[in-house]
Symmetry: C2
Subunit: 253 residues, 2 copies
């Protein structure tokens, strides 16, 4: 049985707690929720505490707070010499206070509080300074049904950067398509199967192999016609830059 | 029974033919395949012809050739006064020869010859100058199990432009993430669940509502750290432009 504390009830802390309470391999002793108005839509058998001073040692204490607060929170924990991890994609492991055994437990997924997270489909990146701690974090990931990936801080930060491209930036391209089609009274639903198919395709073949369209064909006529259709300067700049990027990748000129 | 001719055996012509032969509502009379080496991996009960001069009238003649060839092919068809459609997202309906009843039958999907297309999940945009022809094209879409959407040429061209954003450009962002993570020996598989989840999310909520990440939070510290991690100038320019676009959309400064 892995005994766990969780600090924080934002998206990551909330979903981790909700998933971990279901595991027979994990016992959550304490959950630190500063905000007394937080609503909990599942049965939590442990203790909810309001002050970090009330926390007692556990096998793993998970700090799931904003990046900027991680370092401070790790200092405020009233015990030492046990494993304390944060859940951030970008914060260095060494930002945690040296009085702890330090580690990282970073689930790579886009969290929003409303929809449930199926951790079996969420890769978890683990990092720790001691091998036994790495193994403990791998066991915690396994208790969630997740696949753990051991990586160092530089790799995790690079993965976080990559995630911005495939999640935030991709979503913004969806948004731009939504704006463009809305302006001509075209139902955005028409684009949804293509959005899904595009994501499914790279589950099996590489994005390099999956590419199609006017840029890779170097179809100047279509590209010129498209640029004429775009009246928003940012949308146009994005069109030009990504078209150039596709051409560069595939050696078109 | 809708009697159909198909001209062309590229991705669209091939998959349309393969799907239409399965329908009891459609009979494909003739399939024009210029290239004698084209391999066909399904049983085709109609006539394969090598010259456009051999084509005979049908209820619908589908021109599935490169955009640049559509106009010429429509002139070469040796009959007139029946419905002739092209399958392009960007070619004007009026580029078809005036001797025909003209129309468009544009399936919005990313076609590649290797993988089968499930037309039930492919929206089909139809356009025609006569109402009876629109209805005939809707019936053809229905025979494929597809949902037809009636739209004019300007709307179709705008949809095609939107599709470039959500398909080609999104795929290029996947490619960039692949490059960035490969350079640090990070397995691209780790990003695949996030790619899929990002596409699934906008099936139910708008891209505007689905946005997360450093740009919408205006998290300057993370953005600065990310920009330092990127050593490719194009990747950096794309990061900056899409970050700005997200900020503009959500009124951050």
């Amino acid at each position: 049985m892995i005994v766990v504390n969780i600090i924080g009830s934002g998206h990551v802390g909330y979903h981790l707690c909700k998933a971990l309470v279901k595991s027979d391999l994990v016992s959550i002793n304490q959950w630190l929720i500063r905000n007394a108005t937080t609503k909990i839509d599942f049965s939590f058998p442990g203790d909810i505490v309001r002050s970090i001073q009330d926390l007692k040692p556990a096998d793993i204490t998970i700090i799931a707070v904003h990046d900027d607060a991680i370092s401070e929170v790790s200092k405020d924990i009233p015990f030492s010499n046990s494993l304390v991890v944060h859940t951030s994609g970008s914060v260095n492991i060494h930002d945690l206070d040296r009085k702890h055994h330090r580690g990282v437990f970073y689930p790579l997924q886009s969290f929003s509080k409303s929809s449930d997270i199926h951790f079996a489909a969420v890769p978890i990146c683990v990092e720790a300074l001691e091998k036994t701690d790495v193994n403990l974090l791998k066991a915690l990931a396994a208790a969630l049904g997740s696949t753990p990936y051991k990586m160092n801080t530089e790799q995790r930060q690079t993965l976080h950067l990559s995630a911005v491209y495939v999640n935030n930036f991709v979503n913004q391209l969806y948004r731009i398509a939504h704006e463009i089609s809305d302006a001509k009274h075209i139902n955005f639903n028409i684009l949804k199967p293509l959005i899904l198919e595009t994501a499914k395709k790279v589950q099996d073949i590489s994005p390099y192999m999956a590419q199609t369209g006017p840029a890779i064909r170097n179809d100047k006529k279509t590209i010129t016609r498209h640029l004429k259709l775009i009246d928003n300067d940012t949308h146009k700049a994005i069109y030009q830059l990504l078209t150039q990027s596709i051409k560069d990748t595939h050696g078109r000129r």
